[in-house]
Amino acid sequence: MKSLHQLSIIFAITFLAEIIKYFVPLPIPSSIYGMLLLLIALQTDWIPLAKIKDTGNFFIEIMPIMFIPASVGLLVSFNELEGIFIPVIITIIITTFIVSAVTGVVSQWIIRFERRHSR
C-alpha cells in the first residue's frame, strides 16, 4: 500500500497545481506550481520526504520515456519545416551549444571566485 499512498500524494499535488493554473492568469504551466507546492510541503515537513521519495524517484527515473510519444511525432510534423529546415536546424544546434557554454562558464566562474575569496 506504500506505493499507492505515495502515488495519491503525487497526483493530489498535480491536481492542486492544475486548480492553481486555472485561477492564475499567467503563462506558467501547472507543473511549475506543483514543483513549488511540493518543495514547500517538503520544506515545512508537511509531507515528509520518506512519504514520497520512492514513487517520486521512480517517476523521475522513467521521465525520458514520457518524451518518446511527442518525439516520434516529429516524423509527421517535419513537413511543417519545409523551406526553413536547414536554417532552423542550424539555429537549434548553435544556440544549444552557446546557451550551455554561457550558463556553465558564467556560473562556474562565480562558484570558483567565491570559493577562492571565502578562504
Binding site: 503563462p27 506543483g34 524517484n57 518524451f67 518518446i68 511527442a70 516520434v72 550558463t103
Partner: protein, 230 residues
Amino acid sequence: MNDFLFNSWVFGIVISIMSYQLGLFLKKKFKSPIFNPLLISITLIMLLLALFHVNYDSYYSGAKYLGYLLTPATICLAIPLYQQLDLLKKNLKAILIGITAGVLASLGSVYVLARLFGFTHQQYVTLLPKSITTAIGIGISEELGGLVTISVIAIIITGILGNIAAEKICSIFRIQEPIAKGLAIGTSSHALGTARAMEMGKVEGAMSSLTIAMAGILTVIMATIFADFI
C-alpha cells in the same frame, strides 16, 4: 491492422517502453554516448511504424498516456531540489546569474541567427522559446504570434540534442563543477536535458530541475522584449 492498433491503447505504450529498455541495454553494453537510449528508442519506433505501415495516430492513441505523466514527473523534480536546498542557498548568486546569462544567451543567439538567415518576425518569435520546457514554450509562442507546431518541434529537437550532447558540451568548455554542469544542461535543454543530468549525479540533476522553472519564467519575461527586435 491500423484499426486494431488504434484501438489497442497498450500498443503505443509497450513499444515505447520496450524500445527504451533496448536503448538502455545497448548503452550499458557499448558504453558509448552515441548509444543514447532516448534516440535509439525514437529511431526504432519511427522505423517500426514505417516498416509495418502503422499510422502515427495509431501509435499515439495509446502512447499519449505516457506523455500525460510528464506533469506529475516534473513536479517530482522538487524532490532532488529539496535534497540539495542547502547547496542552492549557498550558491544562490552563481545560480541566479548563471541562469540569467543563459537565458539572455539563448534569446540573443536566436536573434543573431534569425538576422543572419533573414527570418520573418513570425519565424523569429517561433524559435525564441526553443530552450525552455514545452508547456511554457507553447504559451510564449502563442502569445507572440509564432507557429506553435514548429516551436514544439524546435523545443523537442533542442531537448534531444541536449540529452545526447550535454556531457560532451560540458567537457569541451571545461565545465567541471557539478552545479555549473546542471545549470548548463537545464538552461539549454529543459526537462529532456534534465533527464540526462539526473543520471550524471544528484547535484547536476537538482540544479537542472531548478532551471526548468527559473529559465522558463525568465524567458516569459524577456522574450516579449526580444520579440520587438525583428
